[in-house]
Amino acid sequence: MRRALTALWHDPPAVAGTLVLLVLLVVGLAGQWLAPAGTNDVDVDQMLRPPSGAHPFGTDELGRDVLSRVLVAARVSLQVGLVSVGIALAVGVTVGLLAGWYGGWTDNVLMRGMDVLFAFPVLLLAVAIVAVLGPGLVTATTAIGVVYTPIFARVTRAGVLAVREQVFVRAAVSIGTSDLRILRRHVLPNIAAPLIVQTSLSLAFAILSEAALSFLGLGVQPPAPAWGRMLYDGRGFVTDAWWLGFFPGAAIFLTVLAFNLVGDALRDVLDPRQLTVSEARRSTR
């Protein structure tokens, strides 16, 4: 692990990504206190002011300080991303592990169930779930989580099918190791790479999904700020108040980028064999 961290440290994009994530973490935890103004200080006399000393990111259509809202929204957006992907990861990986390991009927039943979810139009599923549970942070999160579950199940299952055939798994069975232990100790760590990639990609999409749900009026409830929602609300102001969409948009972009960079680097680094494709490959000349 220490070696993995050292290796991460030598990869500039990964370092940049990690730094951004650290900053995000701080902002997510302490956004409330970092914000120069209240997120809901409506002041219609101050509406749509461009960035200035008093409001570095300008004010929105209700005269609220955009910087403060962007800072406080970090928590919401991160929470939506992390929790929803966490749900998808937990459920999807469990399903994928069981389906891939036991095969046969278990596989069929579980994966057909996942197919049902997968065959659903993604947003519709979210819409339906939000409609059932009522809108809000928790349900938006659950909805996005459910939407991504089948993907994790598939990725995991594919990984399990590959790892299951590996000799070291057979070796573990030959020792008399229980299934649960094999899955936990041998299979799971060895399918980490595709899961990490999928996780970082899903984190990105989950954060964006929050925006899409907002588009459909199903996301985080106002006046709570969330980047996706702010970006969505800012869309009508592109021409006359660019800062409304720009700053939350930039925040999303940076976050997603950071997740991807770190995810990619982690995947490379967590492979103890260390041989990345680019090193193993030959040139074509």
């Binding site: 070796a171 573990a172 020792i175 232990r181």
Partner: protein, 339 residues
């Protein structure tokens, strides 16, 4: 329990279903007895069913027919749960030491796994101690426990694999080509180690290998497999001096010798063609399609193993005779086997 028998396969068949076609008859009527304290060598071409036979002993593949008896107990129908006990008594060492160790776990963790699984060492301290003991037993330094497989050399990895197999204090170890993927200089180390462990710990081995020289070196008895069947069994001396099955003879003659003078003189029995598909084995004698001495009768009768010497059996209608004919036959006699 018949004293002296560690494990017994009785008319074992293992067929793998192959979707949309006849099953793969990987093992097709194999009977073997592994005696306590001996090394039984199992040789044969790739795909002849050696590994499957070995795996069946641990019930790592489900037998299609026949019986598997380990330590006097018929384990053929044991449940998943019960089998975990069996797997303590029979251990396995795999061909590719790199592939058989979890790349993400340290050598120590791999060796300790049987201890955890079978609750052989309750405390972490006891486990560490036992791992150090095992490492010492296979000739590795204690600090090796903290390394990952990729930080070890091939020979070291295989030692870790052997230490893991020893951890459960098994009665029988199935060695599935344990030296095949190692360097020559390291192969010798591992063979020596295996031999010493057997001597010191009274182990029993089922030694699966391609390398006839190695088999001869380590085994007390040898079984030759061809297409899911045992075609010949005997001591190394019997087989080398007087192979009774044409396949054994061909196999022996194909082994090159590290001496240019010998090699230049030598005539080989070159078999033509490939191993037939195990989904559709030839009728009668399975070797007949490639046997230089095949006769019409071979297509009709499935030859039973016949005793050609004390403890030396061959499944050939023309056991002994065919080999003699082959060696005498043009193209040119094989002056000797690999000496």
């Amino acid at each position: 329990m018949s004293t002296g028998t560690v494990a017994e396969l009785d008319d074992l068949t293992v067929w793998f279903p192959s979707p949309g076609g006849p099953p793969v008859r990987a093992v097709d009527g194999v009977s073997l007895t592994v005696r306590s304290g001996e090394t039984l060598g199992l040789v044969g071409e790739s795909g002849s069913g050696k590994s499957t036979t070995g795996l069946a002993l641990l019930r790592l593949v489900a037998p299609t027919g026949g019986r598997i008896v380990v330590g006097g107990q018929d384990v053929t129908g044991w449940s998943r749960r019960r089998l975990r006990g069996l797997r303590r008594r029979v251990a396995m060492v795999f061909q590719d030491p790199q592939a058989s160790l979890d790349p993400r776990r340290t050598a120590g963790a791999s060796i300790a796994e049987p201890l955890v699984v079978h609750r052989l060492a309750r405390s972490a301290e006891a486990r560490r101690h036992r791992v150090a003991e095992l490492l010492d037993l296979v000739g590795l330094r204690p600090e090796t426990a903290g390394r990952h497989p990729h930080e070890l050399s091939g020979g070291q990895r295989q030692r870790v694999g052997i230490a893991r197999a020893l951890a459960g204090e098994p009665d029988l170890i199935v060695l599935d080509e344990p030296i095949a993927s190692l360097d020559l200089s390291v192969q010798a180390q591992i063979m020596n180690l295996l031999r010493r462990l057997q001597r010191d710990l009274g182990l029993t081995y089922l030694f699966i290998a391609h390398d006839l020289a190695a088999v001869e070196h380590l085994s007390d008895r040898i079984a030759v497999m061809y297409l899911g069947r045992i075609v010949e069994t005997g001591t190394p001396a019997q087989l080398w001096r007087e192979p009774a099955h044409p396949y054994t003879a061909a196999l022996l003659s194909a082994v090159p010798v590290a001496d240019p003078r010998v090699e230049r003189e030598r005539r080989r029995i070159i078999l033509t063609g490939d191993l037939p598909s195990p989904t559709d084995p030839p009728s009668g004698c399975r070797f007949r399609t490639r046997c230089p001495q095949a006769r019409p009768a071979c297509a009709e009768t499935d030859p039973p193993p016949i005793e050609v010497g004390p403890g030396h059996r061959a499944a050939c209608l023309f056991a002994g005779e065919a080999v003699r004919a082959m060696r005498a036959d043009p193209p040119a006699p094989v002056t000797d086997g690999p000496r």
